[in-house]
């Protein structure tokens, strides 16, 4: 699957934006500027970018507690996201959702989700709506290896198959469900093998390789658009930070993350591949790097200077009408 230069640069921009967003959130959280629970996607960028490259805003995704990357890859406004993480009134959800609840329905982004395994049933419903609408749209559920063990996920795999829905389940197996190894917690050989038992098309993918994800996702999305039913992508990838910010990660080897960053980093691999192939010049990537840094800097500055929600916001938007 050959990508045009513009597509390569767009993919790089998304991955780089996710990375810089997360690295900066890590710093701001440590400085005490961001309240609450924050779960970073750094290291997993190729998966969100490789899947969402095939989606339009008429397609749906549902995310997880580790959702910033999916939001950015689906085109959600970075300023609005940053302000939301800072709990500001200018945030995408008016400061009432926070990191775990960023959503933008206009873009088909059905929300990050604070409940592990919360998303798959919702995506099954979005896929049903897409199927009934008959416009060839699809719905994608991102699920962690932790969420892959939830009954909601199993039930949704079955229901999507029974109803022959245009649904794609993307398991992001980053090796750890919170602090517990996915090698230990997934009883089957893999999620791909397990989902095959549900009758889904499945494929195991190197989630650090943008091109591998892009290709596998492309096939799954096309299959769904063609009415040929649901698929599951089992992506093996790496989490650079803890389960949540503040996690000392004593369950990991001492040089584990350092080695992963050095040997497997998806951005490094992508850059190396596209520059060595001659498709993209290093200067093109450097220019994007600079723009992304400015974007993040700008978003943080805006968030910090934005007002907090007003007291009256406490009572609004519980219902459409009541």
């Amino acid at each position: 699957m050959k990508l045009a230069k513009g597509d390569l640069l767009a993919a790089y921009r998304i991955m780089k934006t996710i990375r810089e967003f997360e690295e900066r959130v890590h710093v701001e959280f440590a400085a005490g500027e961001i309240p609450g629970f924050v779960h970073l996607y750094a290291g997993e960028e190729a998966c969100a970018a490789g899947v969402c490259a095939h989606l339009s805003k008429e397609d749906y995704i549902a995310s997880t507690h580790r959702g910033h990357g999916h939001c950015i890859a689906k085109g959600v406004d970075v300023h609005g996201m940053m302000a939301e993480l800072f709990g500001r009134r200018t945030g995408l959800c008016g400061g009432k959702g926070g990191s775990m609840h960023v959503a933008d329905f206009e873009l088909g982004m059905m929300g990050a989700n604070g409940i592990v395994g919360g998303g798959p049933p919702l995506v099954t419903g979005a896929a049903l709506a897409a199927k009934r609408a008959g416009q060839g749209n699809v719905a994608v559920a991102f699920v962690g290896d932790g969420g892959s063990n939830q009954g909601t996920t199993f039930e949704s795999l079955n229901l999507a198959k029974v109803w022959n829905l245009p649904a794609i389940f993307v398991v992001e197996d980053n090796g750890y469900a919170e602090a517990t190894s996915s090698k230990w917690s997934i009883g089957a050989k893999s999620n791909a093998e397990r989902a095959r038992g549900f009758g889904l098309h499945t494929v195991r993918v190197d989630g650090n390789d943008f091109f591998a994800v892009y290709e596998a996702a492309g096939e799954a999305v096309q299959r769904a658009r063609d009415g040929d039913g649901p698929s599951l992508l089992d992506c093996q990838l790496n989490r650079y930070y803890g389960h949540f910010e503040g996690d000392a990660q004593t369950y990991r080897g001492s040089d584990e993350v350092k080695n992963l960053r050095a040997d497997q980093d998806c951005l490094v691999r992508f850059s190396k591949f596209v520059t060595e192939s001659g498709d993209v010049a290093e200067s093109d990537l450097a220019a994007i790097d600079q723009e992304v840094l400015e974007l993040i800097e700008d978003a943080v500055a805006d968030a910090k200077s934005a007002p907090k929600p007003a007291a009256e916001d406490l009572l609004t938007d519980v219902y459409v009408s009541y």
């Binding site: 609840h101 329905f105 919360g118 919702l122 979005a126 909601t152 039930e155 229901l159 938007d317 009541y322």
Partner: protein
Amino acid sequence: MARRLTFQQAINEALDQEMARDESVIVMGEDVAGGQGTEGEMDAWGGVLGVTKGLYAKHGDRVMDTPISESAFIGAAIGAATSGLRPVVELMFNDFLGVCFDQIFNQAAKFRYMFGGKAETPVVIRTMIGSGFRAAAQHSQSLYSIFTHIPGLKCVVPSTPYDAKGLLIEAIRDNDPVIFFEHKKLYPLEGEVPQELYTIPFGEAEVVREGDDVTIITLAEMVHESLKAAETMAKDGVECEVIDLRTTSPLDEETLLDSVASTGRVVVVDEANPRCSIATDISALIVQNAFDKLKAPIRMVTAPHTPVPFADNLEDLYKPNAEKIASAVREVSEYKAWKATASTS
């Protein structure tokens, strides 16, 4: 034109007419058609008690059988609701809440607020409540207070065929998640129901009987038991005002407090268990807002703090009835405050 329909027929007609009116309305749940994938009749069941019977024949694949996977299909209804459909999904017995509550209270109920007012989730969850079927502990509960507790959900508990149709149409057209509780003992109840489409607004309790002496506040099947009790007490010269809540969220506080202001004596009748219930909620509301109007302590007539028993004699003991209600009414109507007693002695 009003005809006599059963509660069950009124619900079926509301679903049928709304599906005909609006293509985005779909019905889904376990056996709502029945017979999917079998060699027999596709429209075999129409729901476990036949409430959706005939809808598949008229509306085809908009009536969707599901596997027994409440988390997935209730969640799917919720996800579909945020994606342009207006699903009416059946949670067969409200007792099955335990296998799918996350999708209802952490997902559907929270979307509007935690996404900053941008989500609309026009889903209706129809579910059966109520004891009296000898169906024992896991198929007989009345759990509306658990749902009423959750901000973001609306809770509808109709007591008549007329209300069932009007409130269900209102629920389908409403843009928030609505839980629609159907008391299984009410399904055969007949009443006048107009053929036309009509809606009954949420948050409007109905005074189903007027009276000056005691206010009975109740809902669902207990409305009918309360009316029987009121007739019994009228023979003794005690006139009860009976109020049917119709919706527990939103709650029509004004109608309740107005009645309490005129009678000063209150019995709250609720088939559910007594702790943290609609009965305690209403009692607290009255004490907070109308303490100075009360001439007697509020009496609650509820089930005991036990699961629903199976044996017929025990279930009959468990359930509030007209006799128990009349006894509570007698107690509050005869109550004299100690101050009044002191001043006359």
